[in-house]
Symmetry: C2
Subunit: 224 residues, 2 copies
DNA sequence: AGTATAAACTGAACACTGTTTAGTGAACAT
DNA sequence: ATGTTCACTAAACAGTGTTCAGTTTATACT
């Protein structure tokens, strides 16, 4: 029947245009989200900004959530960049690295409120998907690995974590990482949804948290 | 002119009916929210459930947010009831009381997900209002006082909190309370928005958090 | 009693939202 | 030149919160 006589050249052009428009949609979405928040990302507004009709958006994305999903990915990539810039330059003690990481995490949240709100508070499907079937190249998974490595190093440096669970046993690096992460997330998310509530500034709360926990972890070991 | 000939009796009846309908609206709202979440609380659905037209709702509440606000209040009252049931019966050491409070807080969030999401994640205006001009009888403010008292007792019992801030100084009870609260909130809110992410169960994370922090606070004091 | 007045209530509309579908026009492959 | 495929859009659908003119009902006064 029909012989595919190398239609790749032309198809490539089409495909390139497709990708280009797709990226344009995502760029506009990022703009709107970072400026006005995820709720302000309406399909009509987005379509108008890129000069197409709303229906066109559905030729490139299944629905609004899929756009959020794609934007989330770059959000996690941004977070990863922030965190890895810490681990790369900080070659000091594990405790100091964790301190820096915590501060950087919270600062990222406060400096990119709309992005943080999207990836951790409004698009839970992304995180859920990552932990449902872990992908190697996912930026969110990379963030997790990075944090896990930091607490792992801390424990390996001779810390004695408290016991927990039933029956009581030593806390694992995973549990410690997730406790820390959740705590940092609490500081950020609370500040983002209600700037008035934690009356103390976020960076101070972070310091209190990390210092107290570090002391709690090193309590059993000899000082200095 | 017209003499107001004691129209109070009749007015009272009217007023009673008004209040009754108002309460009916709120009861229906609570039902919908606890069952389907705040997003499912639409004015039309709410109106239909109580047998009135949507426009009637606006005779009793300025808008949907005001309904959320009223429902939030009872949500905080519920939380307060949970927390104060702890402080009343627990006459043990401050550390144990704080342990119980933390567990109860997290449990409340997980057992009343829609309510928790409403009062801490979807209706920030309420908390903002409380901390803008503190009202004595507000249940949210009472929750705060309760937690503050617990950490205050803990510090008074001889704990030596770590130093923080610039210049470094001893952490205050307020800062410690808010750090703890934010951390617990992080555990709850993360679990609610994404059950998959903190892979460890919430109560275990809570235990890790509270045990580590307690050790961090008592690190400088003699053991036992 | 009847009547004036005030309160309660509603139908219908407005301006939005995400999403679908039928139909048009242009670019491509043969 | 023709048949096919792809890109695109206007219009509609079913929702949303909210407003307002108009109607019904209950109260107040003579």
């Amino acid at each position: 029947m029909a012989v595919n006589k190398i239609p790749e050249k032309k198809s490539q052009r089409r495909e390139a245009a497709r990708q280009s428009l797709r990226e344009e949609i995502l760029a506009a979405s990022r703009d709107i989200i970072t400026q006005e928040g995820f709720a302000a990302l309406t399909m009509r507004k987005l379509a108008e900004r890129i000069g197409y009709s709303p229906a066109t958006l559905y030729l490139h994305f299944r629905n609004r959530d899929e756009i959020a999903h794609a934007v989330s990915r770059t959000g996690y990539a941004d977070l990863l960049k922030t965190l890895s810039s810490i681990t790369e330059k900080d070659r000091g003690k594990p405790a100091d690295r964790l301190r820096s990481l915590a501060k950087a995490y919270v600062r990222f949240g406060l400096e990119n409120p709309q992005t943080y709100a999207l990836i951790f508070m409004e698009d839970p499907a992304y995180l859920a998907a990552v932990f449902a079937e872990p992908a190697e190249d996912d930026p969110a998974a990379a963030c997790y690995s990075l944090m896990l490595a930091a607490t792992g190093d801390l424990l390996a440096a001779g810390m004695r974590p408290p016991k927990a669970g039933k029956p009581a046993r030593a806390v694992t690096a995973v549990e410690l990482t997730e406790s820390l992460w959740a705590s940092m997330h609490g500081i950020v998310s609370l500040k983002l949804t209600c700037p008035a509530f934690p009356t103390a500034p976020a960076d101070l709360l972070t310091e209190v948290l990390i210092e107290t926990m570090l002391r709690g972890l090193s309590a059993a070991t000899a000082k200095k």
